[in-house]
Amino acid sequence: MFIAFKEIRASLGRFLLLIGAVMLLVVLLLFFQSVAGSLTLGITGGIENNNADVLVFNERARGNPAASFLNPGSVDEVGAVEGVASASAVGRGIFSVAGADEDVVIVGLEDQLAGPAVVDDGRRPNAPGEALVSTTSLAEGFAIGDVLTVEGMSFEAVGVTDEAAFDVSTTLYVSYSDFAAVTQTRSGGQAPAPLSWVAVAVDDGLDPATVAERITETVGGIEALDRSTAANELPGADQITQSFSILYLLLFIVVTIVTGVFFLILTVQKQRSLVLLRAIGGSRWDVVKPVLIQVVIVVGLGVLLGVAVAGGLLELAKDVFGSSLDPRTTILTSGFILALGILASLGAIRRVLSVDPIEATTGGSVA
């Protein structure tokens, strides 16, 4: 500890620079992770946080709720499959809100239990003109009592649920009859309300994936997916995750290179000191330990400061990005960066271990 701290004191500027660099990279990483998380949840939240165990789509929709249209008889066909406890119709459409730039997704539920699993505030709708509203972190928020007018119909928010939206848009969960009404109004009574998918609850104790497989095999022209698979197959979610993963990878690589090169240069610069310490009786551990301590201090401080700054920035920009730090992701990322820092210092440690104390005599040659 003694030598490690004394060296930091003597080269405080350099160490502060590295702490700053690590902090900056951590801020970027956590910021991207939060925004990517919000974006992904804005796409998948409606499925991920749904009550249904299995969702049944038209097979040609390939798991895309927006592209799925089933014939009305599908609900009964699915309900008759062994292992299905209940099946209910769900309709979905995008509508313009009167007096607003933003469109909303309206999800009509034959059975309100096929809606979001959790109502965070208020209650589920149980009368015409009532809606359970889910906003994404990237869309404007709604409060209980707010009224939205869609195609001349007014919907009052009677409940609010977080992160159960579709298509990164404000989503209104209404009764199927309200959904049918608003759809018909928009089409001038020409088009019937679509059945987008069937929400299924499976019998107690059964595996939803197994039941989904059975439904797909039994009912023609449909594809049944358990909730988790359905969320993963939503178009766009994977692309976002992959795009951001490349950014994460680049940032992790930069953290590793910056830390590794810094400590390698530092080791080369203090080579003579290391030689001296080994010559006067220092063991290999005596000269490796300060490097490890410094890595942990520098990367650890950089991570702590990065978490604090990223948390502060996300809080300040909550109205813009609507994201906050996820504790689990933050802890995992922090631990991973610390591990990368230690890994990155292996080059420096290898060099430290190769120090030959004999070099203390005449700088390498003896006579």
Partner: protein, 224 residues
């Protein structure tokens, strides 16, 4: 028991036809409390003898006994521990850790091998710096010290762990004659007052007065 015994010590660098014999069947004994001055031309094997005696370098053959311990067959860890506990080094060029103050350079010795810098260590460092006339320079970094002061700090560091044998390589090579003499007087006084033995390697004739005995080495062979 002698402080140091070298018996038939041979050190060869390189292999086959590239071999260089740095020490050729050297027999040498340094008694307790004796200061031995080792002289010889450049490339004669002085520093090799010093490094072999200080367990920095293993001989190709022969026996090295320091204070009753045969160091010839010790492993790397044991050699490091041995150097830390039994030998004090004052090197010619590499002597102080630049990011540690004068006092910290002394204290660093105590921390090696998992040791602790306790009150006794701090008192010892203060006492040594005081004796070396560096009490007011304890908080200075090496870059803030003159050549003579650096050499004195190195002497203090060599004595910090109360070694049985002090090995000094060209202590006056970088000093002018006045400073060189001052450093040698100090070194002599400190070594004698502590009753330890020392080998001082030098080119400098003025240093000869400070030894109990002078031995010359030429082409790796000690001269009678």
């Amino acid at each position: 028991m002698p402080a140091l015994t070298l018996s038939n010590v041979r050190k060869v660098y390189g292999s086959d036809d590239q071999q260089v014999v740095a020490l050729d069947d050297v027999d040498l004994t340094v008694d307790d409390e004796e200061i031995l001055i080792l002289i010889g031309p450049s490339g004669s094997g002085k520093t090799t003898l010093l490094t072999v005696a200080g367990a920095l370098l293993r001989p190709t053959s022969g026996l090295v006994d320091v204070g009753g311990t045969d160091v010839t067959d010790l492993g790397d860890k044991e050699l490091a521990r041995f150097r830390r506990d039994q030998v004090g080094f004052v090197f010619q060029s590499v002597n102080l850790v630049p990011f540690l103050t004068a006092k910290e350079n002394l204290l660093a010795v105590r921390q090696l091998g998992g040791g602790r810098i306790d009150k006794a260590a701090k008192a010892r460092a203060n006492e040594l710096l005081d004796e070396l006339g560096l009490a007011d320079r304890a908080g200075n970094l090496p870059s803030q010290l003159s050549g003579g002061q650096k050499q004195r700090v190195a002497i203090g560091r060599a004595l910090m762990n109360e070694p049985a044998l002090v090995l000094v390589d060209e202590p006056t090579s970088a000093l002018d004659s006045k400073l060189g003499r001052q450093v040698m007087e100090l070194l002599h006084r400190e070594i004698k007052s502590r009753g330890v033995s020392a080998i001082i390697v030098t080119h400098d004739d003025r240093v000869l007065d400070f030894g109990d005995r002078t031995v010359e080495i030429v082409d790796g062979v000690l001269q009678a």
